[in-house]
Symmetry: C2
């Protein structure tokens, strides 16, 4: 039985039993069962579905079974959401029922010192050959197959009686999320849903006594939906298995990692959170960089960089061109680029000559600054962005483009986005965008860029850091001779979707 | 004539002439005049208003004058928006008319190499004693007096014919914005308007041949509306005048500065943008820290820190407590605090004892981690946040509190915000908040915190950096013996508003 097939059962099971399913709306077992039931009614979840609970006859129209053993058909996957003390008994029954995989949502094991209980469950599952996610986890969310084990309902009712979206599920898309912290995982879903960025798979490991990063990563390597992997870890087994699979993946798909506990207080908090020693931060830095994992420094960068990889090719070198209609933000981008190891050097003589020619014939403002950043000034219009971007796309010395399109400029309308996007589709050169502002048109411009596959950010520095990740990864691919292969598979993925 | 009275004319003039006012909607002179005209109709702008344009008889119902000299009444302030070549003639007329102050919106002077033209205008204005803002600037926006010189209209019509908010004006509030870059200034307004953060004054200097930072800062020192000054500079005269006034201000009001051009590319861009040499970055660091200016590293931090000072007191020490309902984000906050020089140490024995007692009586979860961060876990409810926060507010060893309230937790409703806010009002200890997510409830929770005067951020790291600024400033005030005085005036400002 291959790892891939084993892992696939968590994301695409033929049959699922929710042990601990409940009619009581405040219970985790209710939310999880009702997620499956609703997705089945919508035709999204196609497997068999069984609620298991000795105290219920029927839940949301489904016949309820007193135990796994009473289910007549096959049960491929058991989602277990009962008190920790009961889990060993359930696992015994799962073994007897020849269940193939289990997700233990319940907490109350190693993370609160109950290593004995965890060991007991582990022994049973190992003996029976049941692959296990958890315990103490959120499990899996797969928007394509309708598997949704999140015990957090999508909405909440406030003290006023108003219902509000609280834990939205993102749409389908290229980002896989692999997280050790369930709570952070849920936040990530909320963030990505709000930013309209789709996910391929979501998996929360919890105590990960059986399935851990290496196997999950291996599965994601072969998952066609997954274009980029966001990996959140507090502690990880940095052994051979992890390093080998990571190396294999990163020549094909970027892994963006957020590893916490880099300070003393952070490490102490990580230890009390997941009960594991964070390890020297420098070791993580070393291993990650050796296997081509892009490490980010904070939450915002985690998502920003993920978005860049979802939409754009890596860069083939460090030379970045900046186009702007606002001097100050151009400087911010230049500063942040160079602080992150990118090069924002003066344009080549040939490119300068082209811009001078554009000035001469009035196609860009005569007082535009063309040193890099190219500052088209507040007199810019959409055609000027297009003409200038075309020159930069064609300049072989430039490896990536940052477009700052501050919409406030009087003569600039939204079609500059369309024009730049059209150019971008004909060039294998990464481009990221920024518009500043938190009201209507700023949001509209950013989402328009996003829709065309140009990741847009709300500050010049965010855009520069996203570009820095595209450069870092591009250099890694080149070093490993896999740049061209990556580009090919990136195109296959993005053109087909 | 005191500087204060001179500067006040830019923000609260008895009479304004807009030279270059126009009926043509695409012209800057139209937008500026119509801003004043509309604000006058609404009763917001209370001064006299005169359009000046030899080619028009009437503009938006106002009699138009062919020149400043033809206006019968006094003209205190002239807003000049005519081609650069015409500005010397207008300035001559302003001198003859005994205009007291002028804002030259027009570009086309030193910034594009026309130092001769700038010198000519300067000579005329100096001789006549006219105080000048600009040239090449956006001028002034004051939501209280209705002075609005922004030539960028609030809305724009897209290629589809749809009208959209593009350059919103923020409401009235405690943040003063002093910016060298007009384009960035406009972005800042868009950002603050969207984040519901109000401004006291907005001033864009441009080439600043006459009025520059020292006088403007002096004015803002005495401006009761201004609680915090956001200062954006590309180059600044770091002379005695600046240092003296900055020192005088920072014991009374925080100045948050963003100074660009810290890298080679950034410095080159800054030089071509405003024609000035950026100077060694380390010199700025030294001067800023000597005079108590809080320097930020990027745009996002600029606004985040401004918001912290608008709402919260500085901290009296470095010891920070973190309360969370999610382990991962708690670690993120701890990491970022310690990376910024804050201390997240274990709670005192007394405070630990109190938390243990709460566990014993079931008032917080028995498996909560109380080392700092205090992790109340996903079993938290609103009462637990309140009880725990009360203990931390009362602990004299803790100087500031970061509340991470991830709303996804099933048992947590919005009233935890109200409960914490109520506690906060009875304690002189700074508190900042975070909720993660970009959909309905996350935004609701953050804006609820904001409304109660607790600045809320969308990532744990942003919250930690905001707290770091409150600590840095608090330590500066203590060193200068002005902490208590600042607290008093902070209360006067925030209680009265």
């Amino acid at each position: 039985m291959s790892t891939l097939r084993q892992m696939d059962r968590f994301f695409n099971p033929r049959s699922v039993a929710v042990v601990g399913a409940s009619r009581k709306i405040m219970k985790a077992g209710h939310t999880i069962f009702s997620n499956f039931a609703e997705n089945k009614r919508r035709g999204l979840f196609k497997g068999e579905l069984y609620p298991v609970n000795p105290h219920e006859q029927i839940i949301l129209g489904f016949k309820c079974y007193p135990s796994l053993l009473k289910i007549v058909g096959e049960v491929e996957l058991a989602v277990i959401v009962v008190p920790a003390e009961v889990v060993p008994k359930i696992m015994e029954e799962a073994a007897a029922k020849q269940v193939k995989a289990a997700v233990i949502i319940s907490g109350g094991f190693g993370e609160i010192g109950r290593h004995d209980l965890e060991e007991k469950v582990k022994t049973i599952s190992k003996k029976a050959g049941i692959r296990v996610l958890g315990p103490n986890c959120l499990g899996v969310l797969d928007p394509r197959t309708g598997v949704d084990m999140l015990f957090l309902p999508e909405t909440k009712v406030l003290t006023t009686g108003d219902e509000m979206i609280t834990t939205p599920r993102p749409m389908s898309g290229p980002v896989a999320i692999v997280t050790q912290s369930g709570a952070f995982g849920v936040s990530a879903l909320d963030y990505l849903a709000g930013k309209q960025l789709g996910i391929s798979k979501f998996v929360s490991f919890g105590n990960k006594y059986d399935v851990a990063e290496p196997e999950m990563l291996q599965y994601l390597l072969h998952d066609e939906e997954t274009g980029v992997i966001l990996l959140y870890v507090e502690s990880i087994e940095l052994g051979k298995a992890f390093m080998e699979i990571a190396k294999e993946i990163t020549i094909k798909k970027p892994i963006v990692a957020m590893k916490l506990g880099r300070t003393e207080a952070g490490a102490r908090a990580a230890m009390s959170h997941t009960g594991s020693i964070a390890g020297s931060d420098m070791i993580y830095d070393g291993v990650f960089s050796q296997v081509g994992i892009i490490r980010v420094r904070n939450m915002k960068e985690f998502f920003d960089v993920g978005k860049a990889f979802a939409f754009q090719l890596p860069a083939s070198g460090r030379n970045i061109a900046i186009i702007t209609d606002a001097g100050g933000p151009g400087i911010m981008a230049a500063d942040e680029c160079e602080s992150n190891g990118l090069i924002v050097k003066k344009f080549s003589r040939e490119t300068m000559r082209k811009f001078e020619e554009l000035k001469r014939v009035g196609k860009i403002p005569s007082f535009a600054t063309n040193l890099n950043p190219l500052d088209l000034t507040g007199s810019v219009n959409s055609a000027m962005y297009e003409t200038s971007a075309a020159i930069l796309f064609e300049d072989p010395e430039i490896h990536g483009i940052i477009v700052l399109g501050l919409h406030h400029t009087p003569g600039l309308l939204e079609d500059f986005v369309d024009r730049i996007a059209k150019l971008s589709q004909n060039h294998a050169k990464p481009i990221v965008a920024c518009d500043i502002g938190e009201t209507e048109m700023a949001m509209f411009i950013r989402s328009r860029f996003d829709k065309f596959g140009i990741p847009a950010y709300s500050s010049p520095e965010d855009a520069a850091r996203a570009m820095a990740a595209l450069v870092k990864y591009g250099l890694y691919l080149q070093k490993n001779g896999s740049f061209v292969q990556y580009m090919k598979s990136f195109w296959d993925r993005t053109r087909s979707s």
